[in-house]
């Protein structure tokens, strides 16, 4: 059991982070805390993707070329999978933009209601 948990510890951490983020998003009353939860939630997925690219004893995926020919035959086991990294680079851009838009919206909310506490805002609407 211990081995099962330890062997996949990065995935377990990913699950824990996902749950922390999810909890913060649905139960916190402060809107900034919700945003932080959102951020943790997204980061967890990135950890998940990066974990899938890792192989034991593998190195950076750079193949050496000379004038268009490979210098050595590529052994797949020697290199990490570069594709998840590329995907996550894109996902990071998406995440930054989401955070940016969310912060701008929070600014609008603060200017309109003078508060970022959900309870206070809902009270002022009624």
């Amino acid at each position: 059991m211990v081995e099962y948990v330890m062997g996949f510890y990065n995935y377990w951490i990913c699950v824990v982070l996902l749950m922390i983020g999810f909890y913060a998003m649905i139960s916190k009353k402060n809107l900034i805390k919700k945003l932080i939860g959102l951020h943790i939630f997204q980061t967890a997925v990135m950890l998940f993707f990066i974990s899938t690219s890792v192989k034991r004893g593998a190195t950076v995926p750079v193949a050496f070329h000379r004038q268009g020919e490979l210098l050595q035959a590529i052994e797949v086991q020697q290199f990490m999978n570069p594709l998840p990294h590329v995907l996550i680079l894109t996902a990071i851009v998406v995440m930054i933009s989401t955070t940016g838009v969310a912060l701008a919206v929070l600014l609008l909310i603060y200017r309109r209601y003078k508060s970022l506490e959900e309870n206070e805002i809902l009270r002022s609407i009624r």
Binding site: L38, Q42, V45, T52, A91, L108, I109
Partner: protein, 518 residues
């Protein structure tokens, strides 16, 4: 590579994307240019979409490899009859709604025109990208482009718009991340992100739990994105408080494109027999959709705000489309696709009518609509067409899509859903005819001072109120500007024409668009 269809496949996304960045530059020099540039970009996409639909129906599926990288490694844009059809629906509705938006933006966001159209076009780019891409991760990126633009556009509205937008950000991101997790699971087990490739690689792996979990993540993530009933919390507020040009653009298109993605995932990425038999995802979806159809309509009855009522009605209408997906037979899916066309036009008309009313009246409270047909006869006529289509009265397209859904439910021997469709239709009648009653049959009040003065003169000369109603009507008339009326009328005409030619649409396009294996 000189084939116009191949060019159109990529131009349909690239034109609006590039031009959206040109708008701020042009707007810096010419303040009024934003609208014209955005309109022509969407028009260009519409032309591309028509070329593509024609090409795909005559010559079969079109593949475009971005950057010359071949499919399993590179990103591929694929046009088959299904997304060719959706692309035309989205482009045509988008074009007409943009035509409508000019005056509305002028009035509601006078100092933000340039920035508004920049984000507006980005939203359109996102929607187009979702429709044409053949790569699951690329689809996620476009989904986020569209969603981010939608968050920003909704937040510029009045009242509680920023709060609604923030709720949408939280819910929308949860949906997107669930979708991304699903993509991750499929990538782990197959090592591919290409939709066509996945549908070949997955069948031997259907026993695996990883695939089952991926399917669960996809279903929930997309259900949040399209606002399916128990997860619809963000939708009504967001669509209600958004400025009217925004809500009339987002409301007809966002959820429909989401439904398209759902069809893609359930029936193309996974084979239909997996979705129907291995895990009962379609059955669960049908029950949820049925609940949504009833509950959405009940919520809609309780609303006093016209836009909010329409938003809840979208929740119900999304239920119809998803029910067609869930029943998973040819007839029901035909109904579903026809309903996507019908919905895009109908919701477009109704939200545009709401926009025109807000433009003239300054409010969207139903109880202030008394006698509106005297003030805005043409707008209200278009509203009637939209309402009839929503309820499903014969000459309009709404009747035929519901007919096919009912036939599909009968074919699947799911009598409960037949009853649910009929009950939901009755509920539709209740909330639309509440509005019709207030607009057309409420006793007349003489609101303006001018009318009262004229009436005084009429009485002084021994005339009666009744003889002079026509004159008073003309005086009280306060119709929306022509640039709003024309697109509303084209869409209303589209609803009726789609109803009259429903059989041609089905045999010509939809029949080919249904994924194989159903």
């Amino acid at each position: 590579m000189n084939d116009p269809q191949l060019q159109a496949t990529v131009l349909i996304v690239v034109i609006p994307l590039m031009i959206s960045y040109a708008i701020p530059l042009l707007g810096w020099r010419w303040r009024e240019s934003g609208y014209y540039v955005a309109q022509s970009a969407i028009g260009a996409s519409l032309v591309c979409a028509l070329i593509l639909l024609h090409g795909v129906l005559t010559q079969g599926t079109i593949h475009y490899h971005l950057g010359g990288w071949f499919p399993p490694w590179g990103i591929e844009y694929v046009i088959d009859p299904l997304n060719g059809f959706i692309a035309v629906v989205v482009c045509a509705t988008g074009f007409l709604v943009t035509l409508f938006s000019k005056e509305s933006v002028e009035k509601e966001l006078p100092d933000k025109k340039t920035r508004f159209y920049t984000i507006y076009l980005l939203l359109f780019t996102g929607l187009m990208g979702i429709v044409v891409t053949g790569d699951l991760f690329n689809l996620f990126v476009f989904l986020e482009i569209a969603s981010l633009a939608a968050y920003a556009l909704i937040a510029i509205g009045k009242d509680d718009a920023p709060l609604a937008s923030f709720n949408y950000i939280i819910m929308g991101t949860i949906g997107a991340i669930f979708y991304l997790l699903g993509v991750g699971y499929l990538y782990i087990i197959t090592g591919s992100l290409n939709i066509a490739d996945l549908s070949k690689l997955l069948p031997p792996l259907y026993e695996s739990k990883v695939v089952l979990i991926a399917m669960a993540f996809f279903a929930i993530g997309l259900a949040i994105k399209i606002g399916l009933f128990p997860l619809h919390g963000w939708l009504p507020d967001a669509y209600t408080y958004a400025p009217s040009p925004v809500s009339s653009f987002i409301a007809p298109l966002m959820t429909k494109v989401g439904c398209y993605v759902m069809i893609r995932i359930i029936f193309t990425v996974f084979k239909p027999y997996f979705s129907i038999e291995s895990i009962p995802v379609t059955e669960i979806l049908s029950w949820i959709a049925a609940a949504g159809m009833i509950m959405g309509s009940i919520f809609a009855i309780a609303q006093s705000d016209f836009k909010k009522m329409l938003s809840f009605s979208i929740v119900a209408q999304t239920g119809y489309i998803v029910l067609g997906i869930g029943l998973a037979n040819r007839t029901a899916l035909t109904g579903s696709l026809l309903h996507i066309l019908n919905e895009a036009l109908t919701i477009g008309v109704l939200f545009s009518v709401a926009g025109a009313i807000v433009y003239k009246l300054g409010t969207s409270n139903i109880y202030q609509f008394g006698n509106l047909h005297k003030k805005m006869p043409f707008t209200m006529a278009a509203f009637l067409v939209g309402a009839f289509s929503m309820v499903g009265t014969p000459p309009t397209c709404g009747f035929f899509s519901k007919l096919y859904l009912i036939l599909g439910a009968i074919e699947a021997k799911q009598w409960v859903f037949v009853a649910v469709i009929l009950v939901s239709t009755l509920l539709n009648v209740i909330y639309f005819f509440k509005v019709v009653e207030i607009v057309y049959f409420k006793p007349r009040e003489l609101a303006t001072e001018k009318e009262k003065e004229i009436l005084k003169v009429v009485y002084a000369n021994g005339g009666s109120y009744k003889e002079n109603t026509r004159e008073l009507d003309l005086l009280g008339r306060n119709e929306a500007p022509l640039s709003m009326l024309i697109p509303i009328f084209i869409m209303a005409a589209g609803i009726v024409l789609a109803g009259i030619f429903y059989f041609d649409i089905i045999t010509g396009v939809i029949q080919h668009a249904i994924p194989s294996g159903i």
